[in-house]
Amino acid sequence: MNEKILLEKIASKDEQAFQFFVEKYHQMVLNICNNILNNFDDAMDISQEVFIKIYESIESFRGESKITTWLYRISVNKSLNHLRSKKRQKWFSGMDIIFNSDNDKNIPEDVSPKPGENIEIEENKKALHLALNKLPKKQNIALTLNNFEGLTYKEIAEIMEISVTEVGVLINRGKKKLKTLLIDYFKNN
């Protein structure tokens, strides 16, 4: 189905068109969210938020960029907002005791390798994601989109709404800092 017609149908709240759209793109959205959040449950939740946002505001899509660029942009923004709200939640975590709810959310995530998995690879994966999360947000996003998603500088520039040169600078600086952070991690562990 032509993308323009598909989007028009979604705008007119055609459920079948929306289902087709979700089934076509959910894997891509889920992956980008997971690469930024590094947590499957959160990625699942946020990817659904992305599709809800699209369903509610499809009219605002002007068609100037590719639909995938728009999807990437919303996914990145939603994931970053989620990370921010997670940080805020830490501030308000004391209030949860009063409300006596969702206490189990405060239990630290089990990052220990699962049985049968290569312990060393898992440890390196953990180190990589910790280091990525310590990078400035823009460097993290540029590196994630370039390395995990395999997007070109031009595509990243469109998603992040910055110039191609800026993307290059972000990626170079990010890689340099990432290496230093990784060395520090392995030195201390």
């Binding site: 979700v22 894997q27 997971n34 409300f99 990589l128 395999g150 990784l182 060395i183 392995f186």
Partner: protein, 159 residues
């Protein structure tokens, strides 16, 4: 070459950005130092993970779950009470009201508001002379308080 210098040169060593001589020196050190070898291999393996991965496979029933979520949200939107009493709203309201209350009590205490002194032993009575009240509470007797007229007369006499 010591470990500290190797650690500094390691990122460029990986990218082959060092001079031939330095590259060789770092390599020699890594080969002979167990500690630096471990860091080098861990760093190399971590950076190797920076590539497009197979990612998450297509999810069965994704659309059904999404649809369910959208319907649940619509239901909760329609229920005004659930919005009012949702934690998202109640929590900041409680925080805000306690801050406002604390500030208000502080202002009341600070401004010595009559409402706080109404039960004190000094009654708010317009007929009470403030000077007499001051004398009473300062353990002075009436003779120790001189009127302004007396003071003026005394100073005239002195002249």
């Amino acid at each position: 070459m010591d470990c500290k210098r190797v650690k500094k040169l390691l990122p460029d060593f990986l990218e082959l950005n060092l001079t031939e001589d330095l590259q060789q020196k770092v390599k020699t050190h890594i080969d002979s130092c167990e500690y630096c070898t471990k860091i080098y291999w861990n760093l190399k393996q971590s950076l190797d993970l920076l590539k497009p991965t197979a990612g998450i496979a297509e999810q069965a029933f994704y659309y059904e779950r999404l649809k369910q979520k959208m319907e649940n949200r619509l239901e909760s939107k329609n229920s005004l009470l659930s919005v009012i009493f949702s934690k998202k709203l109640v929590q900041p309201v409680i925080y805000l009201s306690s801050i406002i209350l604390a500030v208000y009590i502080g202002i009341l205490i600070g401004s010595n508001n009559p409402s706080f002194t109404q039960y004190s032993e000094i009654e708010a009575d317009e007929n009470i002379n403030p000077i007499e009240t001051f004398a009473e509470y300062s353990y002075l007797n009436d003779y120790e308080i001189e009127t302004i007229e007396n003071l003026i007369t005394e100073s005239d006499d002195d002249n």
